[in-house]
Symmetry: C2
């Protein structure tokens, strides 16, 4: 029995893919952020994302920001509507929602999902060299939830974005 | 000024990508789920994901499930460790965390992030034909948060996974 056959035998798993799901793409994950400038700085400068699109909804007082982490940003179509269609066909897009003015509310904070009530856990960025990546995060003053040296899993770290959302950092050879 | 130049001028955006972030990949998003069999059924049968890996942590009483939504599952390496390395280099992986026994606790529920305290918002699956996809979801008895006909955005729907997490459904030509 192959590994895939074993996985397909787990209760709930549908081994035969419905043809109706062809070309379905897990496109994005949306997180609300308090201070969009801090979040854009974190995701572009610290993690290397490219901001591909902003949508402003002035009446409803929020804006959406779509970011991708691609090796060659030159592949992103320069103009709409090709750019938007490209974006919605990609995997691994990060959407940040900014409700205008939340950054000026000193007592306001979003919930990271890892204390009660729990739900969402984290996002993960894989890196070619987890030791080098974490050393750089330290240099940049990034907050850590778990350093490589903490706990039992020595090849996984968790950093925190400006809202406290956890970002797992590992390299593809990690034993997860 | 190009569109990208305009986006790069938004406060916080780092226009020059740090070379240290090369080969960084936005690999996965993790959600906790109450009843793993129901979630695996939803993500594999309804949305077309393939289960690529399960990791069991018997002592700590939880398991991790990694799923991908790819057009050709034959591209997934059949055996470890190639399979795991492939998985951690992919964009758009969904990780589900199952704490053993939560499915037997009638009063237990995870928090979807869209009521207080808010934070995480949703994941999104783009589809080639949003009308056809939503008609199929109706046939399958999937719960909707927002049908295409609800609200002002007529080309976007939100369905709910078994834990109530919102899954946005749209096609790449949507005006988002």
């Amino acid at each position: 029995m192959s590994l895939q056959d074993e996985l397909n035998a787990i209760p709930g798993v549908s081994a035969e893919r419905d043809a109706a799901t062809r070309q379905f793409v897990f496109n994005h994950t949306m997180l609300r952020v308090k201070d969009i400038a801090r979040s854009l700085d974190f995701y572009t400068r610290v993690l290397g994302f490219t901001l591909v699109r902003r949508r402003d909804f002035a009446d409803a007082k929020f804006s959406l920001y779509f970011l991708v982490l691609v090796d060659d940003p030159a592949q992103i179509p320069a103009e709409e509507p090709a750019r938007g269609q490209w974006l919605l066909g990609q995997r691994g897009v990060l959407e940040l929602t900014h409700n205008h003015g939340s950054e000026d509310d000193a007592g306001f904070a979003y919930h990271d999902g890892n204390s009660e009530p729990r739900g969402f856990g984290h996002i993960c960025v894989s890196v070619p060299d987890v030791e080098a990546a974490c050393a750089r995060f330290e240099q940049l003053g990034v907050a850590f939830q778990k350093r490589l040296t903490d706990g039992r899993m020595k090849d996984i770290a968790f950093i925190k974005d400006p809202d406290g959302y956890w970002v797992e950092i590992l390299q593809p050879t990690a034993r997860v």
